[in-house]
C-alpha cells in the first residue's frame, strides 16, 4: 500500500428502506474516519401527543407511527394497557392476536425480501427492474405479501392502520367462512413459502462472520411474538418491566433517532436475533426445509437475516393455519375493561425486532405519559458497527462504488424502519 487515498461516500437518500435516511462515510488512508447512519426524518412527537388521550384511542394513534408494522404497535400498546387495568384476555384473543401478528410478519418480510433486499443480491437497482428479470419470483413474493395483508385484514379490515384491535381483544370476531377460505389460501401457498426459503438460501450472500449480541423475547413453549421475557445469547434473562434497567437510549448528533445499548454495547434485534435464540421452537416442517439448505442457525453471518425472514414467513403461515384450523366464534371477541391508574409495559416482536412500550394512566384510563422504544433505533448502533466490519472485511481499498453498495446493502439487510425510529425527535447537525 503506497498511495494515500481518501474516499468520501455520501448517500443522501437511502433507497429501498422505509423512511428517509442517509449515510456519511469518510475513509482516509484505509481507515474509517467517519461512519454515520444518518437518520434525518423529522420527529413526530408521538409520545407527547398521546398524553391526555383516552386509553381506547391508543391503538389507533400508535399504529400511525409506522405503516409497515402497525400491528406491532397496537399489540405492544394493548398488552401494556391490559397490564395496567389487570385484564387477562381470553385464550381465543391471545391466539387470534398471534394470527394477526403473523399476518404482519408475512407481509413485512415478503415486502422486504422481494422489493427491498433481493435486488442487492441479484444486482438490480430497484424492484421494478428486478421484476423484469425475475417475474416469477417477484410474483410469488407479492402473492405471499398479499396473503399477509389478507390475514391482517381478517381482523383489522385493512392492513395499514387496521381498525379491529382494542384493549381487551378485538372489536369483532372474523366470520367463519372467511377464516376457512384464508386457511385454504394459506395451505395452498405453503409450497411457495417453502420454495422461498430455498431460493433466498441459494442467493449469493457474502460469507462473513461477526460478533454481536442477539436479543429477543423468549417463551418456553412457542416461538416468541408477544409478551414474555427478554433474553440474549450473552446470558440476559429479564422481565420486560425491567427493560430500562439494562437498556439505555442515548442521543447521537447525526441522527434524529436515539441509539440504544445493552450494558453499554450495541446489540441486534429482529429476525436473525430471534432465529438465533429460538430456532429450536420452530415447527418441524419449517426446520426440515431449513435443514435442506446449507444454512444453519444460530448464525453469525448478518446476511442470513434474509433467510431468517423467509423462515419466519413459513413459520408464520404454519402458525396461522394451526391457530385458525379449528376456529370457532368466541362468546365475546373482547373483555370489558375497567380503567384504573397505574403503569404498564408491553413488549412484542415487531417484524424488525423488539418493540417496547410503557404507559402511565390516571384512574379514568387517560394517558399521563408514554415511552416507546422501536426496533430500528435499537439496531442503529449495531448497523454502524456492522458497516465498519463489513467494509473492513471486503477491504477498504476497494473501489468507491463497491464500498458504497456494500454499505447500502448492509443497511438494507436490517430492514431499517425510519418512520418508527424517528417517532419523537429532531436534531440539527452541527458541522464545525
Amino acid at each position: 500500500m503506497t498511495e494515500k487515498r481518501e474516499i468520501r461516500i455520501k448517500v443522501p437518500l437511502l433507497a429501498r428502506v422505509e423512511g428517509e435516511g442517509a449515510l456519511d462515510l469518510v475513509i482516509s488512508n484505509n481507515r474509517i474516519e467517519t461512519l454515520n447512519l444518518r437518520i434525518f426524518e423529522p420527529p413526530r412527537l408521538f409520545e407527547k401527543l398521546l398524553e391526555g388521550r383516552e386509553y381506547q384511542e391508543v391503538p389507533d394513534i400508535v399504529a400511525r407511527i409506522c405503516g409497515i408494522c402497525p400491528v406491532a404497535y397496537q399489540m405492544s400498546a394493548v398488552n401494556a394497557l391490559e397490564q395496567i387495568f389487570n385484564v387477562q384476555p381470553d385464550p381465543w384473543v391471545h391466539a387470534m392476536r398471534r394470527v394477526f401478528y403473523c399476518g404482519e410478519w408475512i407481509q413485512s418480510h415478503a415486502l422486504h425480501i422481494h422489493l427491498l433486499a433481493a435486488p442487492d443480491f441479484l444486482g438490480f437497482n430497484s424492484a421494478p427492474e428486478m421484476a423484469g428479470a425475475y417475474p416469477d419470483e417477484v410474483r410469488r413474493g407479492l402473492k405471499l405479501q398479499s396473503l399477509g395483508n389478507d390475514l391482517i385484514r381478517l381482523f383489522g379490515a385493512r392492513s395499514v392502520h387496521p381498525v379491529g384491535a382494542r384493549v381487551g381483544g378485538f372489536y369483532r370476531a372474523p366470520d367463519q367462512a372467511r377464516v376457512a377460505e384464508l386457511v385454504s389460501d394459506l395451505e395452498r401457498a405453503l409450497p411457495d413459502a417453502a420454495a422461498l426459503i430455498s431460493w433466498v438460501a441459494s442467493l449469493d450472500l457474502a460469507d462473513e462472520q461477526q460478533n454481536f449480541c442477539s436479543v429477543s423475547l423468549r417463551h418456553d413453549a412457542e416461538y416468541p411474538i408477544m409478551q414474555s421475557r427478554l433474553m440474549s445469547d450473552h446470558g440476559l434473562d429479564l422481565a420486560i418491566e425491567d427493560y430500562e434497567q439494562k437498556f439505555t437510549e442515548f442521543q447521537v448528533p447525526h441522527s434524529t433517532a436515539l441509539h440504544s445499548s445493552l450494558d453499554d454495547r450495541p446489540y441486534l434485534v429482529g429476525p436473525l436475533a430471534r432465529l438465533n435464540l429460538n430456532h429450536e421452537l420452530l415447527p418441524e416442517a419449517t426446520l426440515s426445509i431449513l435443514r435442506s439448505t446449507a444454512i444453519r442457525f444460530p448464525s453469525k453471518n448478518m446476511f442470513h437475516s434474509i433467510v431468517a425472514r423467509a423462515v419466519e414467513i413459513h413459520f408464520a403461515m404454519l402458525e396461522a393455519i394451526r391457530l385458525l384450523q379449528h376456529y370457532s366464534l368466541p362468546e365475546a371477541p373482547y373483555r370489558d375493561v375497567k380503567p384504573r391508574a397505574g403503569i404498564g409495559y408491553g413488549c412484542t416482536e415487531a417484524p424488525r425486532g423488539l418493540l417496547w412500550h410503557k404507559y402511565e394512566t390516571d384512574s379514568n384510563g387517560r394517558i399521563i405519559s408514554a415511552r416507546i422504544v422501536p426496533p430500528t433505533s435499537q439496531n442503529q448502533a449495531r448497523i454502524e458497527q456492522d458497516i465498519a466490519a463489513s467494509l473492513q472485511n471486503a477491504g477498504l481499498d476497494q473501489a468507491e462504488a463497491v464500498l458504497r453498495l456494500r454499505a447500502e446493502t448492509v443497511i438494507r439487510n436490517y430492514d431499517p424502519c425510519i418512520s418508527c425510529a424517528t417517532h419523537f425527535l429532531r436534531l440539527k447537525i452541527d458541522r464545525h
Partner: protein
Amino acid sequence: MSATKAKVAVHKFSSCDGCQLAFLNMGEDLLALFDQVDIIHFAEAGPLNREASVDISFVEGSLSTPEDIHRIKKIREKSRYVTTIGACATAGGLQALRNVAQQDDWIQSVYATPQYISSLDQVMPIHEQIAVDFELRGCPVNTRQITAVLRSLLNGVTPVNEQDKVCMECKRQHEVCAMVARGLPCMGPVTRAGCGALCPGVGRDCYGCYGSAENANTASLGGRFHLLRLNQNQVRHRFVSFNGADPVFASAGSMGTGKND
C-alpha cells in the same frame, strides 16, 4: 393513449409511510403498474431521481422543516400534476396536533439536547406551500383510491373527488348503525367516504381518519356526542386527531376549548 409511458414519482415527507403502501400492497397488480407507468422516483421501491421532471407526482407526508418547503417547491416545478395522498399531506396528519400544543414544552421533555432542534413552528399540509392539483384523503389512502386516480389521469381526465359521508358507504354495506343501535359516538356523518366504512364494518364507530366530508355539520354531531355523555375533552379528541389541520374538524374541536373537564 400515447405511446410513451407516463412518468410517475412518489415522494415522502413527514409520515408513517402507510400511504405509499397503497402502491406496494397492490399485490400482483404492482406488476401491472410497473407496466403502465415509468416509476422515476420512489425511494422505497428503489428508483431514485428526486430532481427529474415527471408527469405525475404523488406526495405523502406533511411539511415540518425548512428543507421540506424547499423540496416541495422543487417537486412542484418538476411535476405536471401533483396529487397529495393521505391525511399527513392533505391535512397535516396526527403530527399536526403539535400545532395546537405548546411545542417548545414538548420538545424539552423528550430529548436531552434541545438546542439541536430546528423545525417549523407549524406542521403544514402540502397545499399550504404549493398549488396541488388533486388531494386524496385518508389515513391511510387505499389501493382502490390510488387505482382510481391513476386510471383517470392515465385516461387524461380529472380524478373524481369523493366527498360524500362515510354513512353512505356504511349503509350500502348494510352495517347496522353503531350510533343509533349502540349509542357509540360515530364520526361517520361528518367524515369523508373512501375507506369503505371499515370501522362500522368491524362493529365500531368511525374515528374520522378520512377527514371532513363536504357540508359536514360538526356542530350538530358534536351536540349529539354530548348527549351520548362524552365530555368536552372527548368530543374535542373525536374531531382533532388524525387530520390535525383539517379546518372543519379543527374548528369543531376548538369549540368550547378552555373547559377542560
